[in-house]
């Protein structure tokens, strides 16, 4: 099926252009005359970026016997019916002005609208919902506006939808063409004759289109989420099926994510408790191991900075998490108005900071679990537009964290302290004299 099929054209015209192509390419590859060898070597025989005029064209002089003048001459446009005379500049060779029609007249195309007689109308075109006057009006407008049905519907005196107008027009055209017989055979490519206009499909198409176009961003996002969840579930089920077919027990540690999501509200309870426990058990043990190994590698150093140690520990703790999760942890830290890097990284502060990060990871894990559950639930309820309870939770968390952190430990607090420090320290004149002395001894 290709464009030709759709248009109902014969297929045998295809080979011709294909034959032509290779030859044209060969021509392009050959070095053009007039380009110096060096310049040609630079481009490596590639097609020039600028459209090049063939050099032979440039060097061609008009034949010496041709005398070209430009003249301001009148012309008439055959596409016009009013015989309006206008003037334009014309290239005149040897004093003979060009003959023939105005060169733009051929673009004045108009649609051929079928005409019917009163007799034909009585015979074939009677319709309970359309009067003859209305049909006449429609065909008048169709001719006037070249089948631009939106305009026609706008001008149409009685309230008819675009679809109704189209349907009436195409049905009448079809009926006439069919009745006249001989013409229908001639114009087999005539579309209304071949493919009847389908009103209901058209109405449905427009409805669907307007629905898609009028969707809000939020709905789109939700749709994408639901689709992603659905994909996950189908994949998980596929994996489960594969596992069942091979009759081998799934090693839950190897695919914890997949097996976890197999759990669907529709499933029976025992399968949930069978599948769920292994992943949680697996996660903390690796984290602890990471911590221990990081500590051990730090101990190997003769000296290090506390901030370096913290960086290493943070990295180790989040090694199992994805980049997005790490970003979300940092976002949450900011929402809690906690510095990503502690300002006073003492041992205790670093330990607390690490604990906080781990707890946030746990929190995010739980949120994800909850969201998965809700997504699974909602996808089975078959209502993608219901407000997913997963998102608002996020929001409330941020909201009250801001109110908490912002009020008591936010920037205001820091600022107050900073100004307090500045005013606290008295600038005695004795102190301000010292730098010059010390500088001398320093250098």
């Amino acid at each position: 099926m290709d464009a030709k099929d759709i248009l109902g054209l014969p297929k045998n015209t295809l080979p011709l252009p294909q034959e032509k192509k290779p030859r044209a390419q060969k021509d392009a590859q050959r070095k053009r005359d007039g380009i110096s060898r060096e310049v040609y070597a630079l481009t490596g025989g590639l097609a020039p970026i600028m459209p090049a005029i063939d050099v032979s064209e440039l060097k061609k002089r008009p034949p010496s016997d041709e005398k070209i003048t430009w003249q301001w001459l009148p012309f008439s446009n055959s596409a016009r019916k009013d015989n309006l005379q206008l003037y334009h500049w014309v290239r005149v060779v040897n004093g003979i002005p060009p003959t023939g029609d105005y060169s733009f007249a051929k673009y004045n195309k108009s649609v051929e609208v079928v005409k019917y007689t009163d007799e034909e109308y009585e015979k074939y075109l009677k319709d309970a919902s359309w009067t003859k006057e209305e049909t006449d009006q429609l065909f008048d407008l169709c001719e006037r506006f070249d089948l631009r049905f939106i305009v026609i519907a706008d001008r149409f005196p009685s309230a008819r939808t675009v679809e109704e107008l189209k349907e009436r027009y195409y049905r009448v055209s079809r009926a006439i063409v069919a009745a006249r017989g001989s013409i229908s055979r001639e114009s087999s490519g005539n579309t209304p004759a071949k493919d009847p206009y389908n009103v209901s499909q058209e109405i449905e198409r427009k409805r669907a289109l307007s629905m898609v176009l009028s969707q809000t961003k939020q709905q789109e996002r939700k749709d994408a989420e639901v689709l992603a969840e659905a994909k996950k579930i189908t994949e998980a089920r596929k994996a489960e099926r594969v596992a069942e077919e091979s009759e081998l027990p799934v090693t839950s540690n190897a695919v914890p994510e997949v097996t976890e999501r197999v759990v669907v509200p529709g499933d029976n309870v025992p399968s949930i408790s069978n599948v769920q426990p292994p992943p949680p058990a697996a996660v903390p043990s690796t984290v602890v191991a990471d911590n221990a190994s990081t500590l051990a590698s730090l101990r190997m150093l003769p000296v290090y900075l506390r901030t370096y140690a913290l960086e290493q520990m943070v990295q180790a703790a989040s090694s199992s998490a994805g980049l997005r999760t790490i970003k979300r942890v940092e976002q949450t830290l900011q929402d809690l108005s906690v510095n990503l890097k502690p300002r006073v990284p003492t041992k205790a502060v670093c330990a607390e900071h690490l604990e906080l990060r781990k707890e946030i990871l746990t929190l995010l894990n739980l949120q994800k679990q909850l969201q998965n559950k809700e997504a699974e639930g909602s996808s089975f309820r078959d209502s993608p537009y219901t407000e997913a309870p997963g998102t608002p939770k996020d929001r409330t968390f941020i909201a009250d964290s801001v109110s908490f952190g912002g009020e008591r430990f936010g920037k205001r607090d820091q600022k107050r302290k900073a100004t307090g420090r500045l005013s606290e320290a008295p600038s005695s004149p004795a102190q301000s004299k010292r730098p010059r002395k010390q500088k001398g001894s320093d250098l």
């Binding site: 309870v269 949930i272 408790s273 769920q276 426990p277 949680p280 058990a281 996660v283 903390p284 602890v288 911590n291 101990r299 003769p302 000296v303 290090y304 900075l305 506390r306 140690a309 703790a317 809690l336 108005s337 906690v338 502690p342 006073v344 990284p345 003492t346 041992k347 205790a348 502060v349 607390e352 604990e355 906080l356 781990k358 707890e359 990871l361 746990t362 929190l363 894990n365 739980l366 679990q369 909850l370 559950k373 809700e374 639930g377 964290s401 952190g405 008591r408 430990f409 302290k417 900073a418 420090r421 320290a425 600038s427 102190q431 004299k433 010292r434 730098p435 500088k439 320093d442 250098l443």
Partner: protein, 277 residues
């Protein structure tokens, strides 16, 4: 110069340092160990000594005296977090300035470890700390960005208020040598863990003696009014509040999850997600 001597004296194994209180100390340490050299290399396992430091820059705008190439006078320094003398641990500090300065590698051999210069541009200063031989034979690299221009564009620069950028950090020495430990045990610049019971270490150098020698501290430093405060308690309080909040949310989420499942026993396996340590 006295600061340097004070720092190195206990590390000297030849015993050529000031002889005030040294001989009796060596005697005590010898009672358990064979030789002095062995004593120096002995490591205290599972212990760490840490030295809280602050490195920073203070930059004054020169105002009317400013020229095209010298608009600011600035000082870069490494100080003890509580302005104690760092000479007890640090032997020498090397500041690596921008290559456009004359002799861009500046070595400060004694506390206070600071360097004043004037210029017009901000750049990253590489700071290398060298320690006394009994402390650690490896050096430590720090980086500090020199800031001359205030962040908020609140009016013109003033000559009164400098631009101060300081960052707190801690130098950590895991498994320190015994001799280092005993030398700095009571020094205010150093945070030393409590010794486990049964450990017998030589007496620390008397504090009065230390205080007398201390000239390298930055307590009455000319710039001390601009030094920032670094409060561990504030930081801990903030973190504790944040943790409390996160924990509350975890509890809430767990409850929601178990409600969704409608299984009371399900809340148990999820508890395994907590990263207990």
């Amino acid at each position: 110069m006295s600061g340097r001597k004070q720092g190195e004296a206990p590390a000297d194994e030849g015993g050529s340092g000031p002889s005030g209180n040294k001989p009796p100390r060596i005697k005590i340490s010898k009672s358990s160990e064979g030789s002095d050299a062995k004593n120096a290399s002995r490591k205290l396992k599972d212990m760490e000594i840490c030295v809280p430091i602050v490195c920073g820059t203070i930059a004054f705008y020169l105002g009317r005296k400013a020229s095209e190439s010298q608009s600011h006078k600035w000082t870069v320094y490494v100080r003890g977090a509580t302005n104690e003398d760092l000479g007890v641990v640090i032997k020498r500090v090397v500041f690596q300035l921008h290559p456009s300065f004359n002799n861009p590698t500046r070595v400060i051999e004694s506390p206070p470890f600071e360097l004043s210069e004037s210029g017009w541009g901000e750049f990253e200063i590489a700071i290398t700390l060298f320690f006394h031989s009994d402390v650690c034979d490896k050096q430590l690299d720090l980086f500090h960005h020199l800031k001359l221009y205030p962040e908020d564009e609140s009016g013109p620069q003033t000559t009164k208020k400098p631009v101060v950028v300081e960052s707190y950090n801690e130098i950590v020495f895991p498994d320190p040598s015994e001799i280092f430990f005993s030398r700095v045990q009571n020094h205010p610049a150093v945070v030393v863990p409590r010794l486990p019971a049964g450990f017998n270490l030589p007496n620390p150098a008397s504090i009065e003696n230390m205080a007398e020698r201390e000239k390298g501290d930055t307590k009455d430093h000319s710039l001390s009014q601009w030094f920032l405060n670094f409060s561990e308690a504030d930081e801990l309080l903030k973190l504790a509040a944040a943790r409390q909040q996160v924990q509350a949310h975890i509890v809430k989420l767990r409850r929601q999850l178990s409600v969704m499942d409608g299984l009371p026993q399900f809340s148990k396996p999820t508890a395994g997600y907590e990263f207990t340590s």
